[in-house]
């Protein structure tokens, strides 16, 4: 199975349904942090350019706020694609968005466990 | 009949003229494929289908029979499919009671606009009948053992 098929499988999404309306990008709170924007992410998947997605920082910037998933009029739900890409990066490339060494420096008094748990899930396998 | 590798089921599909036959036409003009095992017989309305036709098909070697009509409430003749629905409900229940495999009979409501549904229905029906293999029981209910 190639990467694109895997992304489709993990996300359960058909990117070809996208009509390029941009509502995802209009809704995305991390838009400005991303080099490949949510609506473009869909195009990259369609074009089989997973390599570019792997190089981009976009996958690590998605907040999983589900705004694009909620508002997408075409059932494409870019957030699912982005998360699937992230899963693949974490699983197959052994890439990590957060290394254990980094963590102590990031902690403060008030940090809730929830944040640590979530961060581990989102950044690491 | 033993299941041979190139065994193909015989499927008879009764389609009402106004909705389902047109739905099958739409599936055709939209090039939505389904197995060639399905042969369609046009009837004016699903209520024209006599249980005798269905039993006759099985007796003559059909492996599956499906009846398609307009959606309840949308019958061209107002009420035909409501009668068909009761008749087929009882007939199917009887066939189930006799131990005939449930997957060999089906009713589906397909409108003239539902080419996709027609094709999907036929694909899933044929798949089920293929899994069941050749129809032995209804052809054989009275064979002396």
């Amino acid at each position: 199975m190639n990467k694109v098929e895997e992304i489709k499988l993990i996300s359960g999404v058909n990117p070809l349904k996208c009509m390029k309306c941009g509502k995802c990008s209009a809704s995305c709170p991390s838009f400005n942090e991303m080099d490949i924007k949510p609506h473009q992410f869909v195009t990259y998947v369609i074009n089989d350019d997973v390599e570019a997605l792997a190089q981009s920082k976009s996958a690590w910037k998605c907040l999983s706020c589900f705004a694009c998933i909620e508002r997408c009029p075409r059932d494409v739900k870019p957030g699912k694609l982005i998360d699937a890409a992230r899963q693949i990066l974490i699983r197959q490339r052994d890439q990590e968005g957060l290394s254990p060494d980094e963590i102590p420096a990031l902690l403060d008094e008030e940090i809730p466990q929830q944040l640590l748990m979530s961060a581990f899930r989102k950044y690491r396998r | 009949m033993p299941v041979t590798e190139n065994w193909k089921p015989k499927i008879v599909a009764f389609c009402c003229n106004w909705c389902s036959y047109a739905g099958a036409d739409l599936a055709g003009s939209s090039r939505l494929a389904y197995p060639a095992d399905v042969k369609i017989i046009k009837v004016p309305c699903s209520c024209r289908v006599n249980p005798m036709f269905i039993l006759r098909a099985f007796e003559k070697g059909a492996d599956g029979v499906i009846l398609c009509g307009c959606h309840p409430g949308d019958c061209h003749y107002s009420t035909g499919n409501y009668y068909a629905r009761r008749r087929m409900t009882l007939l199917f229940s009887m066939l189930d009671y006799l131990g005939v495999e449930e997957g060999r009979t089906r009713v589906e409501w397909v409108s003239a606009a539902e080419g996709v549904k027609f094709s999907e229905t036929m694909n899933s029906f044929v798949e089920k009948v293929r899994a069941l293999g050749p129809n032995v029981r209804l052809g054989d209910l009275r064979c002396k053992n």
Binding site: - | L55, R56, E59, V107
Partner: protein, 319 residues
């Protein structure tokens, strides 16, 4: 029984009826058969006992074509059949004088498990005994009345007549079984078991047509199995179609019209429980479309000529 004969004589003599439809003595107590009596004299052969299971309503179709009124004796369950024929315009109520007779349950010789039966006594109406005395080649045996009763009487639909001009005699409660228990037992089987059961039962059929001939609902002027309408005409078993599907189609043709009188099973010489087909439809109809008893009235819509927009879909109940 004497009361019935008295009534019949009176009506014949007054000329109110031209004939009497009842049961005629056979050679033994246990083999009476339906008969027309045209004269008071002939009534000496009239009998009414526990073996008079035959449902006389179907004979009223022919009686209706004859001159004058016919006096007919109907048991409570028979009256449903008559009523059903009435709503189908098959009998002429004007030409019938209906005496509803009491019933204490009817008997089946086939239920009496003794070899070499010569005669049976104790089934006289209304003085039937608790225990029947059975003379056999090998001596006298006894059997409880209840144990010799027809299946249908164990699930009797009631002591009330739904149509009559006059009532004579009391009826007894005979219900001691669940009408649908056997159907439910079969329903609970696996498809393979079901098929094996019906295959073995139906393989006994010799296509003698007794079930069809006795059935009050199967009273078509010309049966589809005797006509060219469906290319299913041959009586001989040359087309396998009727051979295999006869009983299913027969059950479907009487669905919603069958009163569950049980005559089909009573007369089957092979002992096939044919009522299990009809009762399956009745059970489904009751469950899916509301309780319905064919023949109970003349007005309500029959389940197969009726519908609601919310009816169950075909295949309901499948796994």
């Amino acid at each position: 029984m004497q009361e019935l004969i008295k009534k019949a004589k009176a009506l014949l003599e007054s000329g109110e009826v031209a004939r009497v439809l009842g049961w005629k003595k056979g050679e033994y107590e246990y083999d009476p058969e339906p008969a027309f009596f045209e004269t008071a004299e002939s009534l000496k052969d009239f009998v009414y006992n526990g073996f008079c299971g035959a449902n006389l309503s179907k004979y009223m179709i022919e009686a209706g074509k004859k001159e004058g009124k016919t006096l007919v004796f109907l048991k409570p369950c028979d009256s449903y059949s008559y009523n059903q024929l009435l709503r189908e315009h098959r009998v002429d109520r004007e030409k019938a004088y209906i005496v509803g007779v009491g019933c204490k349950g009817k008997l089946a010789v086939s239920k009496i498990p003794f070899e070499g039966i010569l005669n049976i006594s104790g089934s006289e109406y209304p003085d039937a005994a608790e225990t029947l005395t059975v003379e056999t080649l090998y001596g006298t045996q006894t059997i409880a009345y209840k144990d010799a009763m027809l299946e249908r009487c164990h699930v009797c639909k009631g002591k009330e007549h739904v149509v009559y001009d006059e009532l004579i005699g009391e009826s007894a409660d005979t219900v001691d079984a669940d009408r649908f228990a056997e159907v439910e037992r079969i329903e609970a089987m696996s498809p393979e078991e079901k098929f094996a059961f019906f295959q073995s039962e139906l393989s006994k059929c010799i296509r003698c047509n007794a079930c069809r001939n006795v059935c009050p609902a199967c009273s078509c002027r010309k049966c589809v199995f005797d006509s060219t309408a469906f290319d299913s005409e041959q009586k001989a078993n040359t087309t396998s179609f009727e051979e295999k599907m006869f009983h299913i189609i027969r059950a479907f043709h009487v669905a919603g019209r069958c009163t569950d009188c049980g005559e089909c099973s009573r007369v089957c010489p092979q002992g096939i429980p044919l009522h299990l087909f009809n009762r399956k439809f009745i059970k489904d109809i009751n469950a899916l479309y509301g309780e319905y008893q064919a023949g109970s009235d003349l007005e309500s819509k029959a389940p197969l000529t009726n519908f609601t927009t919310e009816d169950a879909e075909p295949g309901v109940g499948r796994g």
